[in-house]
């Protein structure tokens, strides 16, 4: 069985939990107390990930770190539909890679602001917020034009991909870092659509939404 080194309040760990839930894969978790215990910097955990970062998975002895890398691995190996990470479509794979990098930039800004506000990290929170707003403006514009072409998801596919999963958590948690999403209506609608994916689960700070439309 897959084991996930997990912290409940981590958006990056939540990405992995989301995909595991969408794919209906059973897994176990090994809780790592990120705050206040700083267990991710402890000796035992640094042996597992010398970067001292969550999440990490252990799939029958195969250890892998980095949320985006784990999404790519799990979708490639365990998604029989091939829709979350369509390996046979080079353009789509390129797009996914592009937006996975974008998700990392969201982590570096929106997640950093949340760490500052919620867990008292010392960093330039104004710069983090300005950076997040710049990214959100770009994504909102992208999603607005996607909607104009009747497309629901970040990449040019009719099904969500791991890029949607990678971008979702720290966008949805941005208000915990003082970053309002009020000026990004297309992002807000995409968040509603994401929450309606079959198998969607929540985490602290992320609420469910209504079912799409009455039968």
């Amino acid at each position: 069985m897959i084991a996930l080194y997990d912290y409940e309040l981590s958006g990056n760990c939540y990405k992995v939990r989301l995909l595991l839930s969408f794919l209906k894969i059973e897994y176990g978790t090994i809780p790592v107390e990120f705050y206040p215990g700083r267990e991710h910097k402890s000796e035992w955990f640094l042996r597992i990930n010398p970067l001292g970062q969550l999440p990490v998975i252990d799939d029958a002895g195969f250890a892998l770190r980095d949320a985006q890398a784990i999404l790519v691995y799990l979708a490639s190996r365990y998604d029989p539909s091939r829709l979350w990470y369509p390996r046979s479509d080079p353009k789509l794979l390129g797009e996914i890679g592009q937006w996975l990098a974008f998700a990392d930039a969201i982590t570096a800004t929106a997640s950093a602001a949340r760490l500052h506000d919620g867990l008292f990290y010392e960093l330039d929170v104004m710069a983090a917020r300005v950076g997040a707003h710049r990214l959100f403006r770009i994504l909102d514009e992208h999603l607005w034009f996607r909607e104009q072409e009747d497309r629901d998801w970040i990449c040019n596919a009719s099904h969500p991909t791991v890029a949607d999963i990678a971008c979702f958590p720290y966008i949805m948690l941005s208000e915990e870092g003082g970053i309002s999403r009020q000026d990004y209506p297309s992002i807000r609608r995409w968040c509603d659509r994401f929450k309606r994916i079959n198998g969607f689960i929540v985490m602290p700070g992320i609420f469910p939404t209504s079912p799409a439309v009455a039968a």
Binding site: R137, E141, W144, F145, E147, Q148, E149, R181, Q182, D183, P185, R188, R189, D192, F207, P208, T209, S210, P211, A212, V213, A214
Partner: protein
Amino acid sequence: MREPGVGWYPIAATSDLPLRHVFHGQLLGRELAVWRADDGYVNVWENRCLHRGARLSIGINDGQELKCQYHGWRYANRTAGCTYIPAHPADAPARTIRNRIFPVEERYGLVWSSAIGTEELPAIPALEGGPFLPLRGIVVNAPSAGVVEQLRWYRFQPIGAAGGDAAEITLDEADERMIVLRSRQNGAETVGVFLVQPVDSRRSVIRGVLKGAVQDAERMAVLRHHNERLSKLGDAVEHRAEREPLPPALELAYERLAPELAEMPELATSGRKAALRVTIARKWLTAEGIVAFELRPLTGLLPSFQPGAHLDVHLPNGLIRQYSLINAPGESGSYVIGVKREASSRGGSQLLHDTVREGDVLAISEPRNNFPLRRDARRTIFIAGGIGITPLLAMAQTLEHAALGYELNYLAENRERLAFPERLALLGDRVKTHLGLSPEAAQGLMRGLLSGYRPHVQVYICGPGPMLDAARRIAAEQGWPENAVHFEYFKNTRVIEASTTFEVALARSCVTVSVPAGKSILEVIRENGIEIASSCEQGACGTCVATLLEGEPFHQDVYLSEGEKLSGTKILTCVSRAKSARLVLDL
């Protein structure tokens, strides 16, 4: 020139409001929760729950109501009246729990609202007669005045001449919130209307609409052309605004409560009030002997209601009758009632059946709910006899919409007497009809339905008196506690004894009155200028219930349960009297 802040502004695009979404809007500093119900109505509300102030924009739009994410308070489509409070499952929320609503119009692909002023949304002549193409709204972190000023110099290519940058631009119209530009090149010509929404003192949205039709690839090219140029314009204004001092934030007045809700009802001895005027929008025969009415307001919105609520209909011949609303949740544009023709009609149902027509105006009371529905049961059993279907149909539709477990048992003479078949059909196999049962067979059926009390199951019964008496007896025999069995009688068939004389002290009002033979407590209280709501005035509906502080009551109603009667803490002032010489009421 309009005064700043007065009148209508666009607050969103129509495409910002897909079904089951809540848009987070803001106008002149005031945050708004904007949502479209499944019936298409757009709601613009103050963005805070009346309970703990949580933003309603993160709430759940279930298509009929908006549910706050924090503690689950529910607010009705149109009126924003609270329909349910999960922490008080047995109570009907007070009418004063109503969120603030703002006027709304949808036109030119935009959603408009107005914080101040009551005039109609003025037409924009440049866009009349459509078609039109709404552009992407561009957020600019700068005061609106600078954005409007810069838009005077906005340059764009007309539809059909996308390439190049040589179009001739003329300024057709300009005021402090709108710029109309005309772009011409090589015979192609396009008019663009650019409105600026002041989000707050430091933030604006440019909402552009083009006159003209354009399809597919060219449409996308036009949208991208304006998105790029308006974004660039916005960036330039932002850069300039960064060098200027920040304008002060706008001050907002938060209404604590709508004035008509905050007012105390006037002291009066007029008795039952018909606060509302409605027209009969539709009258139809929904079943043999049962006529349905759809009642629409003459002006404004109808007060919100909860499942189980009834209203008084004041008939042209002076009679007052009570009818339950059968509306589903969120169906807030009109009230729907069902009226059975009573063989022994004293002129109420007969008049509604034979004389009253579509288009007629009726006087009705606000809806009142003395038969509230709990939504925290694991399973709910409804048992309706005949026209008793009406309140239970409203309840069943509510539980159906919330995907909660229930079954609706409907006893009727025959298929032709099943009312509102189109609504029953939507409830599918949750509806179990039982046709042509004898009283004995009906009792057998109820014995089966109520066999053995199960915790977390609630029962609601409405129907003819003998059926209710039997159902309540059976439930008691099967061990159902009173608080799990809810009932509503249509009328009190008991002969009311009114020959005694006694004294009633009204503790809050510091008045002691004497009730003579032939008069009710209610009548005497009213004669002394103390207002008390009432509806059926025969001990069936429960509207005139009062808290009893002292004395031994003589109950003659069919509203209170046996337990409530024994506890001696409540009394229906319309029919009940005193066994002791004196009663003290909390009035």
